[in-house]
Amino acid sequence: MTTPWGLALRHIREHWFRNLLTVGAVAVAAFLFCFLVSLIVTLDSQVEESSQNRLVVQSSVSLFVTLPIDYHPKIAEAPGVAEVTKWQWFGGYYQKPENFFAQFGLDPEPFFRMYTDDIAIVAGPEMGTKAKPKEKLITKATDATPERREAVLRAMLAEKRGVLIGKAVAEKFGWRVGDTIPLIGTIFPRADGGSWEFQVIGIFEKRKANVDEQTMFFRFDYLEEALRQKAANGPLGSGTYFVQVARGADPSTVIAGIDALFANGPQRTKTSTEAAFQQSFVSMLGNLPFFLGTIGGAVVFAVFFSVVNAMLISGRQRLRESGILKALGFRDRAIGALIVYESVLLTGGGGVIGVALAFVLAEGLRKVLSNFFPNFIVEPRTMALGLAISLAIGVVAGITPMVQLIRTKPTEALRSVG
């Protein structure tokens, strides 16, 4: 006899409210699972998408020791180095300290050449400024043209205060091309106690996860000039230098070559690939990824228990019915398959809802978490994993009552009052 699959649907409908709760619990768990796993994946993606051919030169002592600016020409002459740019943390904020985002002083020309594939310029001076509504001033990343890139670079070279800002920064503060933005310097305070002024030349969108859109890139020589003229205070130097390895050169040889240049000071350097540099920030989170993983596991576990519980109850209520089915001649297999099918339908439904929720809310969560996890994304493989776990819970939760139903003899089952 064929298995009466329709029976499972009828059961689900009969105890619809209770089953809704089961679906809800699984949905919540699948959502939370996707969210936590995405946090971990996000951390890793910054490392994974970093270029192996890009190096970061920093002080061997500390991230906060600046390297002398005469290191620039020395690094540029090292064998295997194609491009070098200074890369100095500015540590400024807009109006109040909470409005903080990353700003880096660099050399625009090498930077633009090195990051051609990593960022897309989505707004530039040729698109007009204040006349049009704001949303018209930003194009899609796919519409970014080499001509615009060139135009933005030229404009930045022409305007000392010119900056390139990430789309996230532009959206957060409502800035657009042509705007002047005043920033208070915490490391480089202006001598007159006032704020620095920058002018937005272009807006970029990231193409790879190693770039943070909550970033502003400005001209290092603007900072240098202010420090030399005593218009601002602070250490003159560059915290890091970013280096592009020449085509065909071996990164590890280039690393050794650069570090050997400064082995006798004045500041020893520690050169690493961009990936290793990013990894060092992830490792600063300490045990956080482990904790998130543990919590994700706990959630899945808790919901697993509640689903097992619900299915056990369903199984008990069904003893009598399964007795009838057995008496009618249905095989144990069919009876067992029915309850597992029901269980999988419920958890699968919950899984789909939870994963869909994670997908829909991803954008909103990214905004909320932008300070901690700027590149938060829910990847397809994470969603697939969430769904797979939901289904697995269904299978396992269905097996317990299945065993119970199969073991009970028809006569015994018929006597049950469930």
Partner: protein, 412 residues
């Protein structure tokens, strides 16, 4: 008469597997809640303001932490010589120390790099604190020598931090001569002679001046009303304390523009990022997991009610009021919550006291702290478990109370 609590309790015992599963859902919620909050608690304890000592820090205006600050030697000298609020000891020496601060890379014993706070100190650094650092192993550092002493937690976590080993800063090797303990975040630092540090690291400026100050002198020195009047003219909020008013005035000092703030206030500011992050994480997880746990509890209670429909009919028929039946089921589900709470605490209790490390994003340095359960956390967690049980049981209990005795009795 109300249904005895034993009735509810025995019902749970009869369905003990189901009860346990439901309670486990609540238990895990409670465990996660307690876990994250006790981490946050352990971290905040590190920066807890200690004592009533009037300890103040001078930083460069605009700097939000020591790392960003910079004070030149001339400015520090002016400060130490001239500031009237700085307390002087019996010998007439100002009770103040100019210090450097740098987060330096160190290798962890279990692999990987981290940032450890390195502080260049002066002899007075050991006297300004209410609870001064104590050497627990080796000896005190010698002034003028390339020697350092390390905080005790570092010896078990970082390479090269035991007595007799060396830490190379740029080109200069510094010998570890002692291990010290100190309360709070200072306990996890490395200390050495500030002059040696500045030379080895080629950093010409101090980061802060720490001083004991006399609050009465501060009040004598600054006219709070006048400062606030000026601020009001500029449309700014008034400053509540004399120290803040003094800080405002110091900013405009042409020779040594600085800000002054109490150590208490400074420490409180240094926890904002990680504390806020952990708080958001704890609340977010608790709410979401709580929802899942309530759904589970509700599920169980609905099943319990439907399995006992006949029994409810009997109770109603022999004269129990619907209100009492409602109460009995509610108690039953609240008991599940209590059991879940207890289980959750059992899960999380072994974590208490376990040390872990994380980066304090305000100072960008590695801090070691432990899970610290507190009576408040336990109390709130227990309350959460109880409420989760109650909320889960309310609807099923209501539907049980609404049953018509005649219909309910008919169901076998």
């Amino acid at each position: 008469m109300a249904l005895p609590i034993g009735y509810s309790w025995r019902n749970l015992l009869v369905r003990r597997v189901s009860t346990l599963f439901t309670a486990l859902g609540i238990a895990l919620t409670v465990a996660v809640f307690c876990g994250v909050f006790s981490l946050r608690n352990g971290f905040q304890q590190l920066y807890r303001p200690r004592g009533s000592l009037e300890l103040a820090l001078y930083l460069r205006p605009g700097a939000t932490s020591e790392g960003e600050s910079g004070i030149t030697r001339e400015q520090a000298n002016i400060l130490l010589k001239e500031r009237p609020e700085i307390v002087r000891d019996a010998a007439g020496e100002p009770m103040a120390a100019a210090e450097t601060y740098l987060a330096v890379y160190m290798k962890k014993l279990d692999g990987g790099l981290t940032n450890v706070p390195l502080r260049g100190v002066q002899p007075m650094s050991f006297r300004v604190h209410e609870v001064p650092p104590t050497i627990v192993e080796g000896r005190m550092l010698q002034w003028g020598a390339d020697e350092i002493i390390v905080g005790e937690p570092l010896t078990g976590r970082m390479q090269g931090c035991r007595v007799g080993e060396t830490v190379t800063l740029n080109l200069t090797p510094f010998r570890v001569v002692g291990v010290f303990t100190a309360p709070g975040a200072y306990g996890g630092e490395i200390w050495g002679d500030v002059e040696r540090m500045m030379e080895a690291l080629e950093r010409p400026a101090f980061q802060r001046v720490i001083a004991r100050i006399d609050p009465l002198a501060v009040e004598r020195e600054v006219d709070v009303a006048a400062v606030n009047e000026e601020r009001a003219a500029g449309g700014l909020a008034p400053l509540p304390t004399a120290l803040e008013a003094l800080s405002e005035e110091l900013r405009d000092d042409p020779r040594a523009p600085l800000q002054i703030l109490s150590e208490r206030e400074y420490l409180a500011k240094q926890t904002s990022f990680l504390s806020a992050g952990l708080l958001v994480l704890a609340l977010f997880l608790t709410v979401i997991m709580g929802v899942a746990a309530v759904l589970g509890a509700m599920n169980t209670m609905i099943a319990a009610v439907s399995a006992r429909t006949h029994e409810v009919g009997v109770l109603l028929a022999i004269g129990y009021r619907p209100r009492q039946v409602f109460g009995a089921f509610l108690v039953e589900s609240a008991l599940i919550g209590v059991v879940g709470g207890l289980l959750g605490l059992c899960i999380v209790a072994p974590f208490h006291g376990i040390e872990t490390g994380a980066t304090n994003w305000n100072t960008f340095t590695d801090v070691s702290f432990s899970f610290m359960l507190s009576p408040q956390i336990v109390g709130i967690a227990f309350g959460v478990a109880f409420i989760l049980g109650l909320v889960g049981g309310a609807l099923p209990a209501y539907s049980a109370a609404r049953l018509e005795p005649v219909d309910a009795l008919r169901i076998r």
